[in-house]
């Protein structure tokens, strides 16, 4: 008899764990879109949840295109895009609000004597037209192209700025910014790209057209390998109370510190 009771107790416990999850909360803010914005939007969401108890923040990392689609179909409150809206998208009644700027650093091994490349040369390197470092003032070594996997926001941004869409002859396609940095740090002939926020002292960030990648040069636009982080909203639907609060909060100067510590350049004053 005792055993039966024990079993029953165990079973009911097991059931309880299954049923236990799943609560409803009307105060939610849902965001959907760019994977590159994960770090910054995650930090902002956390801070917002801390200040407003009872509000649930969600972020669905699907990519800029999917995020824009989601907001226009009303499946989320705010869409996240790491590129500007296209004309057709604006014609559908969508509005963009710039949240921050993101610099993409072009990185090489610290042993590499090359310090500066212009944007055309970077494009030529990635399309395989220049294959040896000696042609651009480096050592006599074959250039090893390190990139990100298809679909990555950083890859998207890099390829559209350098005009190398679908034409890059990658030697390695790695799945994270950290892997790109580790690989470039370990190979004197490698070149790669990574979000400026993640670059550390194991690699050397090249200046592009004579302009070093820093927060200031990204902000004033002189460093060209950069992109926008944009919030997308739908004109015809009014944001819910919580979502409007969130929107106001992250576009206010209050959020600047969080944006900076996530490695991006805030633009709202």
């Amino acid at each position: 008899m005792k055993k039966i009771i024990t079993f029953a107790a165990i079973l009911s416990l097991m059931l309880a764990t299954v049923v236990g999850c799943g609560k409803t909360d009307s105060k939610t803010v849902s965001t959907d879109g760019s994977t590159s914005m994960e770090k910054v939007i995650g930090a902002l969401g956390e801070a917002f949840e801390e200040n407003n108890s009872g509000v649930t923040f969600t972020y669905n990392p699907t990519g800029s295109g999917s995020g824009i689609t989601a907001v226009s179909e009303g499946r989320c409150d705010i869409g996240l895009s790491s590129r500007n809206l296209k004309k057709e998208e604006k014609a559908q009644g969508l509005t963009e609000t710039v949240l921050a700027l993101d610099g993409i650093a072009i990185i090489v091994n610290p042993e590499n004597p090359v310090n500066d490349l212009d944007i055309e040369t970077i494009g030529k390197i990635y399309m395989g037209e220049i294959t040896n470092w000696k042609d651009i003032g480096g050592n006599d070594q074959e250039i090893v192209l390190i990139g990100r996997e298809a679909g990555s926001g950083t890859r998207d941004g890099f390829e559209s700025i350098t005009g190398t869409e679908d034409a890059c002859k990658y030697r390695q396609e790695l799945t994270s910014t950290g892997d790109v940095i580790t690989t470039v740090a370990g190979n004197p002939a490698a070149i790669g790209y990574a979000s400026l926020a993640s670059v550390n002292e194991t690699v050397k960030a090249l200046s592009v057209g004579g302009i070093a990648a820093t927060e200031e040069t990204v902000k004033d636009g002189s460093y060209v390998v950069q992109r926008l982080f944009v919030l997308v909203t739908k004109d015809s639907t009014k944001l819910s109370g919580a979502a409007q609060d969130f929107f106001d909060y992250i576009t206010s100067p209050e959020a600047n510190e969080i944006i900076s510590s996530a490695g991006e350049v805030p633009i709202n004053k």
Binding site: P61, E149, A150, D166, E173, G186
Partner: protein, 292 residues
Amino acid sequence: MKNKKRLMEKVIHGIFLILGLITVGCVLLITVYLVISGIPAIRKIGVFQFLFGGKWASTAAKPQYGILPFILTSIYGTAGAIVVGVPIGFMTAVYLAKIAPLKVKTVIETAVSLLAGIPSVVYGLVGMMVLVPGIRIAFHIPDGASLFAAIIVLAIMILPSIIKVSLTALEAVPKEYEDASFALGATPIETYFKVSVPAAKSGIAAAVVLGVGRAVGEAMAIMMVAGNAPNMPKLFQSVRFLTTAVASEMSYAADGSLQKQALFSIALVLFLFIMLINAVLNFFLKSHNKEL
């Protein structure tokens, strides 16, 4: 009282049945899910184009979904790992089973067990930090991330299963066989290779198939050393395996896109691959059991 006991027995039987069915349910769920989500993309792309297409460019303006490079890479990589790993593993097993003094055997067996317990991401990390730069310097090539690096990592990863299963098979060979061979004047080495090994051959074959299974299914470690560019396999070229093709693009593929569906199709192909290997493994294990 007796009735109560009987009822108790039945209840317990029922509970165990349910627990057993959970496993079966999981297998069925995964199979059905993979088939349902893997078929649409294959239909859209075309079976022939999908399996034998030579170019994978899933996010290009004109996407192409050919997985032949991945299939060939998986086959070459696994075959390479077997070619490198099996001789080492097999010889180790023979040494441990027949020749090694007890103390040496204990030390080596402990080391092998430890090797089996190392998580694959650690293999990948060490491979990325040590092996890949090592290959670059040793072979004077621009970059060490290649099929070769993946083969080395896989060969080391399959060693434990090959050694352990072969060892069990060799130790199960009846001592009388060997004694008879010695009595006929054969040297120990002759005896081990002409009597013990043939007697244990189905077990050793099972070890090889087990190694193949492990190598085909591995993703994490080789993702970190193989370079992941979707090239046709060459020894010192950056390559992408079936497993890494799924793993590397899954997180960014948009829901409902053909790209995501195609990734499920790759998973389905991989699943069928591994099913086939399991079937072969079972076949060997069964014939092995009959012999003993």
